[in-house]
């Protein structure tokens, strides 16, 4: 099958439209399964009781936030090197979803902290890194929003995303180091309850659910971006006029 056939917005647009609902359905199924495992099947934790169950959302969301940034940087980098329009559009489509999961990770992290350690915010390595990652996402989106010319916006965003990707390990390790230096007590979300197999399964299933959702959301959003950017071209005009 010739994949390159889909590398132009005109051909990718209908494909995305067809695939998105399927991924959406898969996402619903996987999330339902994951939540079921998390809330009903996984055993109660000895130390933290029922409150720990929020990790079934918190951890997969954190995984997704990191993974989506890598995917975003990949597409943006591809667009920068090969000068393809669609790659840049994909990167822009992924960013809001990535930011969403980062926010979810932060929010659920905060919700976990309150019943467990009594505070609404914990300056542990992962949450702090997630906060910085949120700023990286916001920076990317703000930069693209501030540039009128779409080509410049794609390329500038790509440079920023690539610089960010290189910095993420550095940021993570320096924050981790900072955390060990300043936090005597082990008020750490990374010291999660030791993983029973069911717990891990639950998180992995949720992660897949979030992944399918991300794909569906990115496909839908990229369709909107394509319509907006290519509005002068023939196929968009035809699409807008539509079959009867």
């Amino acid at each position: 099958m010739n994949w390159f056939k889909y590398s132009s917005p005109q051909t990718f647009f209908p494909l995305a439209g067809k695939l998105a609902p399927w991924f959406g359905a898969l996402a619903l199924v996987a999330c339902a399964a994951g939540l079921y495992i998390g809330f009903f099947r996984a055993p109660t934790d000895a130390q933290q009781g029922e409150a720990y169950r929020i990790i079934f959302i918190h951890v997969p969301a954190a995984w997704m936030s990191m993974f989506l940034y890598l995917v975003l940087a990949f597409w943006a980098g591809l667009g920068l090197v090969f000068n393809t329009r669609l790659s840049g559009m994909m990167a822009s489509a992924i960013a809001p979803t990535g930011a969403l999961f980062t926010f979810v990770a932060l929010w659920t992290g905060s919700l976990w902290g309150k019943p467990t350690w009594g505070t609404w915010w914990v300056w542990d390595a992962r949450l702090t890194s997630e906060l910085i990652l949120l700023f990286l996402y916001f920076g990317f989106m703000a930069l693209q929003a501030a540039i009128d010319d779409p080509r410049r916006a794609d390329k500038a965003g790509a440079v920023l995303a690539l610089v960010g990707v290189v910095n993420i390990p550095i940021i993570y390790f320096s924050v981790k180091w900072w955390n060990t230096l300043h936090q005597g007590a082990s008020v750490s979300l990374t010291k999660a309850p030791t993983m029973a197999a069911t717990m891990l399964t639950g998180m992995v299933v949720m992660a897949f659910g979030f992944w399918f959702y991300s794909i569906a959301a990115a496909l839908m959003r990229s369709r909107c971006i394509m319509l907006e950017r290519e509005r002068a071209s023939e196929w968009v005009v035809e699409y807008a006029e539509g079959p009867a």
Partner: protein, 222 residues
């Protein structure tokens, strides 16, 4: 090529000397921000001694961000930046020369005045060297990374705030390690590890940031 680079540095220093108010404003900003903290948190000497490295580092970071506006904006406005893009020396090297000149004017004064400010916080005298050295290694890294942000946001509305948003996450590791070195020295552990790490950051940033900045400049000038 060295002749051209020397020319760029000389030109930028000359321009800074003729418009010295820009330069002094940044230095004054640094001093004022540092002085605000005791007003905000109280003058308990033990508290001030603990927060001194962090406060000075954060203030240096903010002053550095303020100074970033100057790096390319005026050259972009009068067209000289374009000529640099069409120059005979590789743009990465020209950028490195500009960043060096920028640091000499905006970063080095901060390094030199930091011991005085640290004394205001009753920071131990023997450790002033570590603090100054951490700034000496760290502020060039801030200038190098900041240059990328300055190049990406050239000519955009929302300039300063947008630049800060882009550049702050990238500044965090430098802040942590930099302030950490003085704090570790104060705790008796010694700050050598952090200083070496800062040195590594400097080498890494020195090698890659000018090139990334050059790419960003070409994108922004289009």
């Amino acid at each position: 090529m060295l002749v051209a680079l020397r020319c760029v540095i000389h030109r930028d220093l000359l321009l800074a000397a003729r418009r010295s108010s820009d330069v002094l404003t940044v230095l004054l900003f640094f001093v004022i921000v540092v002085s605000l903290f005791p007003l905000g948190v109280g003058s308990d000497p033990a508290l001030l001694r603990t927060i001194a490295p962090g406060v000075i580092w954060v203030a240096a970071l903010l002053a550095s961000m303020l100074a970033l506006q100057r790096m390319f904006a005026s050259d972009h406005a009068d067209g000289t930046l374009e000529q640099m893009l069409l120059g005979a020396t590789p743009l990465g090297m020209t950028v490195a020369a500009k960043v060096l000149a920028h640091w000499l004017v905006s970063g080095l004064p901060l390094v030199l005045i930091s011991p005085v400010l640290a004394l205001q916080f009753d920071f131990p005298r023997e450790l002033l060297g570590v603090l100054a050295l951490s700034l000496a290694l760290g502020t060039p890294v801030l200038s190098l990374i900041g240059a990328i942000g300055a190049a990406l946001t050239l000519g955009l509305r929302g300039g300063g705030a947008l630049l800060s948003l882009l550049v702050l996450p990238l500044y965090v590791p430098v802040l942590i390690i930099g302030a950490g070195s003085a704090e570790a020295a104060a705790a008796g552990i010694g700050g050598q590890a952090q200083l070496l790490l800062l040195g590594a950051f400097l080498v890494f940033a020195g090698a890659f940031a000018p090139w990334a900045t050059a790419v960003a400049l070409r994108i922004s000038v289009e």
